[in-house]
């Protein structure tokens, strides 16, 4: 039998917009099924709030299946909540204890300003991508797929880094608000593939510079990012980013 009547004391950050001061608001929730996802639990809360004519709690989501990177909640002090390699949209209420208090906060970083409640502006990531997270290529008819051979090992590694969904949990969890894991994953992904090698130097330098311009902090090798990353990007991405950057500035 699954428990259909869990209760929770929610403490949720509410903030009108980027210019206002936010504060925590407390909500008591009843009738939560342990099979609900964390976001479904919040949907339930919002339905109740709307029915009562109260303001719902704003939070970000899209796919709800761990692929888009939109969901972004710090749950009881951990980005994406307590389950490893799991985004908060795939977190289930069975991970919590009945009657427990749950504190829900937005990603906190100067580079991710709050738009409303739990929704933050992550366009800083888009600008890091625009600075070099792409390859230049001819459009038009696709080339024959097997003309450029890629070692299986490199392809696998590149794929691992490519699984970064750009959620920003790494920044949220980092004591310094560093975006090194995200930027490192993007740089590593492309630098491992033949299509990405031509622009590797410019890419590394531009993306690292943009990361700093956006106001992300320094990496102190706390490795907290790897622990919260919903797809398990390893800090070897940061190591590769450093290597790519140093290669760019030392080789002419």
């Amino acid at each position: 039998m699954s428990n259909d009547n869990m209760q929770f004391d929610l403490k949720i950050w509410k903030q009108e917009d980027g210019d206002s001061q936010g504060a925590f608001q407390e909500y008591h929730m009843e009738g939560v099924s342990e099979d609900m996802s964390f976001l479904e639990m919040l949907d339930l809360l919002n339905e109740k709030l709307i029915k009562n004519g109260d303001e719902p709690v704003e939070f970000d989501y899209d796919c709800r299946e761990g692929i888009c990177g939109a969901c972004s909640l710090v749950v009881n002090g951990i980005a994406h909540g307590p389950k490893e390699e799991t985004p908060v949209c795939e977190l289930y209420m069975r991970e919590f204890e009945d009657g427990q208090e749950i504190v829900i906060e937005p990603w906190r970083a100067a580079a991710f300003p709050v738009i409303k409640d739990l929704v933050v502006d992550r366009s800083a990531f888009d600008r890091i991508m625009a600075a070099g997270g792409y390859i230049s290529t001819k459009t038009g008819s696709a080339p024959e797929a097997n003309t450029i051979a890629v070692d299986k090992e490199d392809a696998d590694k590149a794929f691992d880094y490519a699984t970064c969904i750009g959620c920003g949990a790494c920044v949220a969890a980092c004591p310094n608000s560093s975006a090194s894991l995200f930027t490192g994953a993007k740089i590593s992904h492309l630098s491992l593939l033949p299509q990405g090698k031509h622009e590797r130097k410019e890419r590394a330098v531009r993306m690292v510079e943009q990361m700093e311009k956006e106001g992300f902090g320094d990496c102190s090798n706390h490795a907290e990012c790897e622990a919260v990353c919903p797809v398990g990007i390893s800090i070897s991405a940061i190591a590769r980013m450093r290597k790519e950057y140093m290669r760019a500035v030392t080789e002419s």
Partner: protein, 233 residues
Amino acid sequence: MPSLVDAARSQVGRKILSGITGILLGIFIIFHLIGNLTLFGSEQAFNIYSHTLESMGIFLYLFEIGLVLVFLVHAYIGVAIWLRKRKRRPVGYEKYSSMGDPSKQTFSSRSMIFTGIILLIFTVTHVATFKYGDTQMITVDGTQMKDLKALVINTFQNPWYVIYYIVVMILLGFHLRHGAWSAFTSLTMKGGTKTSAVVYTVGTIFAVLMAVGFLFIPLYIYATGGTGALIAS
């Protein structure tokens, strides 16, 4: 492409510089500890060792200047990162916890600025006590030299000095635990999960060895009144 100077000031460059200076300081303290252990050698081993260093003249000065520079660069980067970090998250979390393994976030990693500043202050007082402290001259095998050994032994008869040294050496251990891991991770540019676990363990062993090695000396001298079996006289 950025110049090397710009690169050194970038986020990546700062981290690598912090790692290089950290490792240089780490190598320095290894030799410092080995040197200190001559206290437990023959009667005048420690004095002869320190006299040999002092008679290097200009080379010693150059070395000292280099060491001070390395120390200052390391401290400067650390303080700058810490100051910047506060601006990077103006509104903090109501509740924050570490996810645990594979995170390397510990008391060590979070207190680097605190342990670092204590070590900086300590180093100044330590140099004042032993480099510029009052010493008698003695003659060993026809050579005049400072009796530094006597200064060390006398200093550590004072329990407050001993406590001060022990506390700071424990903090040194914490600093080295995260520092060794962090420097190697920044410099070897590897960060795979297996490598990380090995590097972290080796770093922790190094940190413990250094802390215990350094704090053993004042503790032993105090506990035995400077006349322990390990100290020849």
